[in-house]
Amino acid sequence: MISLLLILISSLFFVGIIVKVKAKIAARKMPPVLQPVYDVIRLFKKGAVYSQTTSVIFKIAPLVYFSSVFLAVLFIPIGSNEGLLSFEGDFVFFAYLLGIGKFMTIISAMDTGSGFEGMGANREALYSMLAEPAFFIIAGSMALFTDNISFHDLFLHLKQDADLYYIIGIASTYVLVYIAMVENSRMPIDDPKTHLELTMVHEVMILDNSGFDLGLIHIATWLKFSIYGALISNFIISNSWNLYWQIAVFLGIQFAFSTIVGILESFRARNKIEKNPQWIIMLSAISIVVFLTVLIITQKIILN
């Protein structure tokens, strides 16, 4: 229960902090940190416009997408508090659950019959397909290390004193940060500032959504950021700490993650769109190096 509440609370502030950091670096006036929440509340008070080309798929897809992300949140543990749902192999269920959310978003984008949304749809399908192995290989490395296969058990048994543990932690954090950027279509995959249909991935798929649906989609985006931030924080929080200390460190890491995202978006340029697939394959290559490192730690590769 605690992890659910913490993730929900931190998601409210996440996008606000990113926008504030970007504005500060660009020497613009900063909007209030809860501005995205105010925007969504305003959306919930509005009606909706549906396109004549669309069908029932367009009406049901945002609901399925939001439910899949919300259900995925229920699996994430924080430190020693396990998620509401936890069973062996739940990270496979987690990854494929996000998959059905993507499936419905993609077909609702194609439903509008617009060329822009089709462009975003096929890019989203390709990039998320290429980023899947990276997530699985990292989860596999942790399963190899700890001989457990649920999120809760994996992180519970992860802390052991080996100096290679730090390289696993750092490399996994690096890969997870970039997987989060791929999933939410931020830099360097796509630039949310420009709003040019030719370069967008996720933003362009939701061009025709309005009102309640758009509000749900925005909340789902915050939740996705928060999920990856929680996964990263698990690498750092140790179970032996006091509960309040764990909560404080978690909130601190979420804040740090959103600040880093803001800084990354301000300073890094977007990849050329055709170079994106090879960049995402690089993430899988680094996760294979993490796997090799775990093989070294568990003494299966014998090095002297």
Partner: protein, 659 residues
């Protein structure tokens, strides 16, 4: 009861007497009789967990018997279910052909459909080699006649003959394998005799022969060339049945041979795993660039055979390296995927057939917006598409989850090389799942969503309800397996037990399956709550309908700038261009052409395995043979001259004491 079975077989010949209208119903009754008899045998075997042996017919002096053990019982149930849905679907699908074909042709079609069913049931139950090969041959022949149903198209006959030739090559390999085992070990020509051979020789060589023979039927790459041609050419109920169960007969053969091998298993397991990973990845890559919907589904069958093979290969590796978790869950996932694939693949073929019947085209680039005209068919296609991508909460996810669990649970206890093999297999499975999602979002969106792309869609309406009944039945099974997978734990552990594997790992999955059911239930409840919340909120607001946002471009029909299937697949094609071999056909613009004239653009994908293994060698052999054909002059004087020359040659050689 065996007498009833024999009577049913003999009654199939009675089919020819009936007039056209009653043939279908008579065939349906016979199918139902056969299904109920074999179903009772199968269920009895699974419940009592013992083998069932029934004397069948006397054959060449010995009494031939039907032996049904747990593996055969499982296959019998899968075959029965798919044939049932197939025959129900066939009534509506064959409606337009009733007037074009005469009485004998329709009777011959139903006769072959019955014999396909009977021969598949007998293939999984007969253990003596010679009757097995004869029944295998009958299965190939009956499916050949079913495939070439539309004989008015010349292409169909050519494809049918290619199919028949490849099936016979497979049978030749099987015969060679069996005869080799018989000659080396001296045991009876029976499947059980294989165990004696495998106990005393290195199993890899003979297993390879069996793999090629059964693999041609199953559709592993590179033995798959008949699949993408035969499935589109056949009528949809036949494609559904062929893809759903007939190619699984190859998997049955491989499993049956594996039952007799007990040592030296690692190389065999690694070989199956590598072939299956290749089949899965290349199969789905080729599927993405097709624009004929049934050819696309045929390539997906190749991919799913790859997934089944990954499960089986991992199971064999688990047996070899003594990791019971991997063995049990690998085999479990593979065998459950056999059932799952027959369900969703036949569903997809039936719905695609309904679309073809209404629009008379299989080219998805000419369809679009069909969800408004055929909503129920679209819903079932969506169900099949989500299930085949392996997404929760449906059944495809459950079998892939079993394989993943097996891999992740055994990572810690395996050796170094096994760990790297396991890593490649789960990374490969993740990529295959992602590519299947890519492909089916494309197919579903281009066929059913958006606006219409050509006039062929104008007259489409929903199909009549007899074609929707099998969709309902299969959809029900898909949802049951996805939401309540625990009911399959006990039968699966029984089937795997016959492979001499400890099944505790499967029983440990019960609590996980319950949690999955719980999570899927929570998922549906959240969706329901949100729907209610939204309806309440939208009652108090204005809901308008308008055109899609086109950046204020109002000049043309929205379908003009809608994404086509080729453009959707394009960025994947750039990544995998070496494998999918797509050729673009267009004339470029001239520099001086100020007002562009009309242009045509075509893309074609060709199968590189078919090109390099079959088309190019056969063209070269034909070119060589044409040179030799010079000797065939057709004049009898030349032939007499050849005879005289031959006599002279023999005389000369005898004179010189060379022969």
């Amino acid at each position: 009861m065996i007498i009833l079975f024999k009577i049913a077989i003999i009654f199939t010949f009675v089919l020819f007497i009936f007039p056209k209208q009653f043939q279908y119903y008579f065939g349906l009754i016979l199918h139902l009789v056969i299904i109920s008899i074999s179903g009772i045998w199968a269920v009895k075997t699974l419940i009592l967990s013992s083998k069932l042996t029934l004397p069948f017919i006397p054959f060449l002096g010995n009494n031939l018997s039907i032996e049904i053990d747990q593996l055969s019982a499982f296959f019998i149930l899968v075959i029965d279910f798919t044939m049932l849905t197939g025959i129900i679907y066939a009534k509506g699908y064959l409606q337009p052909y009733f007037h074009k074909k005469n009485k004998i042709e329709m009777a011959w079609h139903f006769f072959n459909f019955l014999w396909l069913h009977i021969s598949m049931l007998l293939v999984v139950s007969i253990r003596d080699v010679l009757p097995f090969l004869i029944i295998w041959e009958i299965m190939s022949l009956s499916s050949f006649f079913l495939v070439i149903f539309e004989t008015e198209k010349e292409e169909t006959i050519k494809i049918g003959i290619k199919y028949l030739i490849q099936m016979h090559i497979g049978v030749a390999f099987l015969m060679a394998a069996f005869i080799y085992a018989y000659v080396s070990s001296g045991e009876t020509l029976n499947f059980d005799g294989l165990s004696v051979y495998f106990a005393s020789h290195n199993p890899f060589g003979l297993f390879m022969l069996f793999f090629i023979g059964f693999g041609i039927k199953a559709g592993f790459i590179p033995l798959h060339s008949w699949l993408p041609h035969a499935h589109p050419a056949a009528p949809s109920h036949v494609s559904g049945v062929m893809s759903g169960v007939m190619i699984k007969m190859g998997i049955y053969g491989i499993l049956r041979v594996l039952m007799y091998i007990h040592h030296d298993l690692f190389n065999i397991g690694l070989f199956i795993l590598i072939m299956s990973l290749i089949s899965g990845l290349i199969g789905v890559s080729l599927a993405i660039v097709q624009h004929d919907v049934k050819k696309l589904l045929a390539y997906h069958s190749i991919e799913n055979i790859g997934i089944i093979g990954i499960g089986i290969g991992l199971g064999v590796i688990g047996l070899a390296k003594n990791i019971p978790v991997l063995a049990a869950l690998g085999f479990g996932g593979g065998i459950l995927h056999i059932l799952n694939h027959s369900l969703f693949k036949s569903l997809l073929f039936y719905t695609a057939g309904s679309v073809y019947k209404q629009t008379h085209t299989r080219n998805i680039e000419q369809l679009g917006g069909l969800i408004k005209k055929m909503p129920k068919t679209a819903l079932f296609f969506l169900l099949g598409a989500i299930a085949i991508s392996g997404l929760p909460p449906f059944n495809g996810f459950i079998s892939e989850f079993l394989i993943y669990s097996g891999i992740f649970k055994s990572l810690h206890s395996a050796g170094l090389f096994t760990d790297i093999v396991l890593m490649f297999s789960f990374a490969g499975l993740a990529i295959i799942g992602g590519l299947a999602l890519f492909c089916f979002t494309k197919v579903f969106s281009v066929i059913f969503l958006g606006t219409t792309r050509s006039s062929k869609v104008e007259h489409a309406t929903e199909v009549n309800s007899s074609m929707l009944i099998p969709d309902f039945i299969i959809g029900f099974m898909i949802i049951i397996i996805g939401f309540v997978p625990v009911i399959f734990v006990h039968p699966l552990s029984q089937i795997i037990g016959s492979f001499f594997i400890e099944t505790t790992a499967i029983h440990q999955m019960i609590s996980t399956f319950n949690n999955i059911s719980l999570s899927s239930g929570v998922f549906i409840i959240i969706i329901g709550l949100l729907w209610a919340l939204r309806s309440w909120q939208q009652k108090r607001q204005t809901i308008k309908e308008d055109k899609t946002w086109a950046c204020a471009y109002t000049g043309a029909n929205p379908a003009v700038h809608q994404y086509t299937a080729t453009s959707y697949a394009d960025n994947f094609r750039q990544l995998s261009s070496k494998i999918v071999n797509v050729k673009k056909d267009f004339k470029d613009f001239d520099e001086t052409e100020i007002f562009p004239k009309k242009r045509k653009f075509e893309t074609h994908s060709s199968d590189i395995f078919e090109n390099y293994l079959i088309t190019i060698p056969s063209d070269r052999i034909l070119a060589f043979l044409e040179k030799i054909a010079v000797f065939q002059t057709g004049k009898i004087q030349h032939y007499l001259l050849y005879a005289l020359l031959f006599l002279a040659l023999i005389f000369l050689l005898t004179f010189l004491n060379l022969i």
